[in-house]
């Protein structure tokens, strides 16, 4: 089990640094497959990502690629957003909201492609 968890982390770490994301989209489903409940998988993934994101930021920092001002501008409002998001998760069965976000991601993804 320990080897499997280290392997999940290894794959998530490559994806995280390659795309500049936390890697939760990879970690959460793999933890569910490994037998964790959905809620525990989400919480555990967030805790693991603190290490992943810190390691990634440090690695890129050595190459001089970090823009701390821009990080603060986008990252600090997100803290307010995550508190609201956690509350919404408790209150809503948010199919429309979820599909709305999927649509937003699709639109931005296509905008990046063309």
């Amino acid at each position: 089990m320990s080897v499997r968890l280290l392997a999940i982390g290894l794959v998530a770490g490559v994806f995280s640094a390659l795309f500049g994301v936390g890697g939760g989209i990879i970690i959460v489903p793999l933890l569910v497959v490994a037998g964790l409940s959905g809620r525990t998988a989400t919480g555990t993934s967030l805790a693991a990502i603190t290490l992943t994101a810190a390691a990634g930021a440090i690695a890129y920092g050595f190459h001089g690629d970090l823009k701390p001002g821009a990080a603060a501008l986008i990252g600090l409002p997100a803290v307010g957003g995550v508190l609201l998001g956690v509350e919404l998760q408790q209150r809503l069965t948010s199919k429309m909201l979820t599909l709305g976000f999927a649509l937003l991601l699709t639109a931005v993804g296509i905008r990046l492609l063309v």
């Binding site: 489903p29 821009a70 409002p77 976000f101």
Partner: protein, 132 residues
């Protein structure tokens, strides 16, 4: 004006993180590229720094609900620290345009997976009506 847009999209990325457990990075990277004009590599590096406060607060909130398995988190975190260096090397070796298109495809796959989850409420994926 573009600063205000970045703040709004940062807030939206946080909501996304809280709702679905995907880090805000999937929205941070395109925002930094399209609105602030960062290169793809600079945007990805900066996104990793920007998601740190969000995941710290998110993990703290979840641990108060007893939803964090710390041993599992530590093992995954340690594995990821090794993988991160590989990801950085690949990102920096790829041409800017190729990395951006790869990221766009990754984004479309994430959008598809989120939509799939919304349309299949009986799936084993985390949702508000999960049993512990």
């Amino acid at each position: 004006m573009s600063e205000l847009l970045v703040v709004i999209l940062g807030f939206a990325g946080g909501i996304l993180a809280g709702l679905f457990g995907v880090g805000g990075g999937i929205l941070f990277v395109p925002t930094l590229v399209l609105v602030l004009g960062l290169t793809q590599v600079h945007a990805e590096a900066t996104s990793l720094l920007a998601i740190l406060p969000t995941v710290l607060v998110g993990a703290w909130r979840q641990s108060r609900h007893g939803n964090v398995d710390w041993r599992t988190a530590l093992l995954i975190g340690l594995g990821s620290v090794v993988g991160v260096e590989g990801g950085v090397q690949i990102a920096k070796a790829l041409p800017e345009g190729t990395l951006r298109r790869l990221f766009a495809v990754f984004m479309l796959l994430v959008a598809a997976s989120i939509a799939w989850r919304a349309l299949r409420p009986e799936s084993t994926y985390p949702s508000s009506d999960d049993r512990p």
